[in-house]
């Protein structure tokens, strides 16, 4: 094991050894450590229609069943993300087999751009998620309510327009501005924290 390994990484390596000795419960350490970065990475790399949780679960289960293939002390996270990358590719291929998928759900060019971004470190998306949480906390409540309505409550645009006494077009525009603003906030925080971009 490398001397540079952090404490959580050491815990992960210990858990791997325990699982190999038959302690199945130790796999919880691995799931807890990687679920957030893995789901965040999958969410940002996958096309609409891909069930992120499902692919994440399949990646964990594949890692568990193939644990003997992992070379202890190398980099469990990188190994797990490689498995996840293949799982995502399989799922994307399956969805593409549905004849009219491209027309309904995703522009090809977006997928190409996401694939290009795939080369960035997977852990960056977990950092982005943390920054996003902080940016949201900072946002004025009158603006944050649009994000809460849209993402937490999942209410339709018509109802958002009624609640805010604005037109649907104005609500759409507001959501667009908020997404742009949050993106800028996240990138600026990442730069301040020295995050990898």
């Amino acid at each position: 094991m490398s001397e540079r390994n952090t404490e959580p990484e050491i815990e992960v390596e210990k858990a791997v050894e325990r699982i190999r000795k038959g302690d199945v419960a130790a796999f919880e350490v691995i799931v807890r450590h990687f679920e957030r970065p893995l789901r965040a990475w999958l969410a940002t790399q996958s096309a609409p229609g891909v069930d992120v949780d499902d692919v994440a679960q399949r990646s964990f289960i594949a890692a568990y069943t193939r644990l003997d293939d992992y070379a202890s002390g190398t980099n469990f996270g990188a190994w797990l993300f490689t498995i996840a990358r293949y799982q995502l590719k399989t799922e994307t291929t399956r969805i593409r087999r549905v004849a009219d998928y491209q027309n309904r759900y995703a522009p090809d060019l977006l997928q190409q751009e996401l694939d290009r971004r795939d080369s960035s470190l997977p852990a960056v998306q977990a950092e982005r998620l943390e920054c996003l949480k902080k940016c949201l906390e900072q946002m004025e409540s009158r603006l944050r309510r649009y994000i809460t309505w849209r993402y937490d409550e999942g209410i339709p645009l018509e109802e958002m327009a009624e609640r805010s006494d604005r037109s649907i077009a104005a609500v759409k525009k507001q959501l667009w501005q908020l997404r742009r603003r949050l993106h800028e906030c996240v990138e600026s925080r990442l730069a301040e924290d020295g995050g990898v971009l």
Binding site: R36, A99, D108, L110, R150, Y151, K172, H183
Partner: protein, 466 residues
């Protein structure tokens, strides 16, 4: 309006799931000619997805994901045996001075059972997966993916299968699966079902429809059915499940089924002749299944939900329509030969629609357009009152050549015959669709340049006019 403003409009609608096919093409064009717009699109898309993850964490918590993942790990041999031993322990007291013959025999039986179980496990781990079910009915394009991940499209009735995934690729796909205990699960239409049996039967319905007739299951090991929005527990009953992206519909024909919504963990028991829809935006309230109606009219203008084809919204002078799209499949018994047909399909008695009952004296009316004169087939699938597959029927639309390409025609039920793809089962299926429930209907052509589009389809009972 500048390209950038137009992009903002289209991209907003894309993120809100409101972009139709025509505007998607426009969006593709804008993205193709401006890298900066593409970067903005990807930035906001990734942010949009991260907001979704944050929301999930807030609503369901991260623990739930961890527990669900751990619950799906394959059962290890020693853990499995420990579980069995814990169950048999009360019947095999260890501290007895006088072991009578009966209890000794009991121990032998338990020991023999364990040996058999271990042999089964060894078989699972080192050999081919033992079968847990058999394919007992098949029609249309159906794929099988076993645990080794190999996709097979050349499957046949009688094939024994271990855990894996059955996928109905087309609107007329149908497959029946019979488990070793006699429980039957039927998959129909564009559907995807993954199943396994490790102690208890576990099904994952990713999309589409299943009908199940489940034999009594052990009280502590109910059959579990997972969809994206709900989980069902079944101890033995007859029911149908229809899974869409964000909702699950359960229709119980006999007995009762417990359904739990995943978003708020609320559960309810649904009894015979009731249905319920589980979705994040509504209450989980079972209602009495409504009586069947003899008349049905498609409502293509309302959107593409449940259809198969390219949905085109109404524009100047043209009504909303469904364009036939290519579907490639390998006909059974034809080796690697591939056939392409062009299909547009519509749901009839699906979702919360009232069951539509067809009568021998009914007729279908179809309105649409084709670019050139060619044969257009019209087919429909029927189920019985309990949702079980009851056959597919096929006819040829009586179309006259027309310079504009537009057509409107009627085809009486008497002009339909059994679909050739279910010929094998003709002795087990009803001879006519009379009195059965129409599940879906479709138009098919084998002519690539036909440009077939459907504006409207209607089932009209005797004595009524369109």
């Amino acid at each position: 309006m500048s390209d950038e403003q137009r992009f903002v409009d289209l991209w907003n609608d894309f993120l809100e799931g409101e972009l139709d096919g025509t505007r998607m093409a426009e969006l593709q064009t804008l993205l193709a000619k401006d890298d900066a717009l593409l970067k903005t699109a990807a930035d906001t898309y990734q942010l949009h997805r991260l907001l979704g993850i944050l929301s999930d964490e807030q609503n369901t918590g991260r623990d739930e994901f961890v527990q669900r993942t751990l619950g799906k790990l394959p059962v290890e041999q020693h853990a499995f045996v420990d579980g069995i031993m814990r169950r048999v322990a009360p019947e095999c007291p260890r501290e007895t001075n006088q072991v009578d013959r009966a209890s000794r025999w009991g121990q032998y039986v338990v020991f023999a059972s364990l040996l058999l179980l271990l042999a089964g496990i060894a078989w699972q781990q080192f050999g081919r997966k033992p079968s847990i079910a058999k394919i007992t009915g098949l029609s249309g394009s159906v794929y099988w993916t076993g645990n080794d991940g190999q996709v097979e499209d050349d499957i046949s009735v009688g094939m024994e299968v271990g855990g894996g995934t059955l996928e109905g690729a087309a609107p007329d796909s149908w497959a029946e699966l019979t488990f070793l205990d006699g429980s039957k699960v039927t998959l129909s239409g564009k559907s995807m079902l993954t199943f396994s049996q490790q102690g208890q039967k576990e099904l994952h319905l990713r999309e589409g429809n299943i009908t199940a007739n489940v034999e009594p299951q052990p009280p502590n090991l109910p059959m579990l059915i997972h969809t994206r929005s709900a989980m069902l527990e079944v101890l033995g009953t007859r029911f149908n499940v229809e899974a869409e992206l964000s909702s699950t519909m359960l229709n119980v024909n006999e007995g009762k089924v417990r359904i739990r919504k995943l978003n708020d963990n609320k559960a309810v028991e649904v009894v015979a002749n009731h249905w319920v829809v589980a979705s994040a935006d509504r209450q989980l309230e079972p209602i009495l299944v409504p009586d069947g109606v003899p008349r049905w009219r498609s409502q293509i203008e309302l959107g593409p939900d449940g259809t198969f084809g390219k949905w085109i919204p109404a524009d100047q002078g043209s009504a909303a329509r469904l364009e036939a799209i290519p579907f490639v499949f390998s006909p059974p018994g034809k080796g690697n030969e591939l056939v392409t047909v062009y299909v547009a399909a519509l749901p009839v008695s699906q979702g919360e629609r009232q069951p539509v009952v067809v009568r021998e004296s009914s007729r279908f009316r179809v309105q649409g357009k084709r670019r050139k004169a060619c044969q257009v087939f019209f087919g429909f699938q029927v189920n019985d009152a309990e949702g079980r597959f009851a056959g597919k029927f096929l006819g040829v639309l009586p179309l006259e050549p027309n310079a504009t390409g537009k057509f409107e025609c009627e085809i009486p039920l008497t002009q339909f015959g059994l679909d050739p793809s279910v010929e094998l089962y003709k002795d087990q299926l009803p001879k006519t669709p009379d009195g059965l429930i129409v599940a879906s209907c479709w138009c098919v052509t084998i002519d690539e340049s036909a440009g077939l589009e459907i504006n409207e389809a209607e089932l009209i009972p005797e004595g009524m006019v369109p």
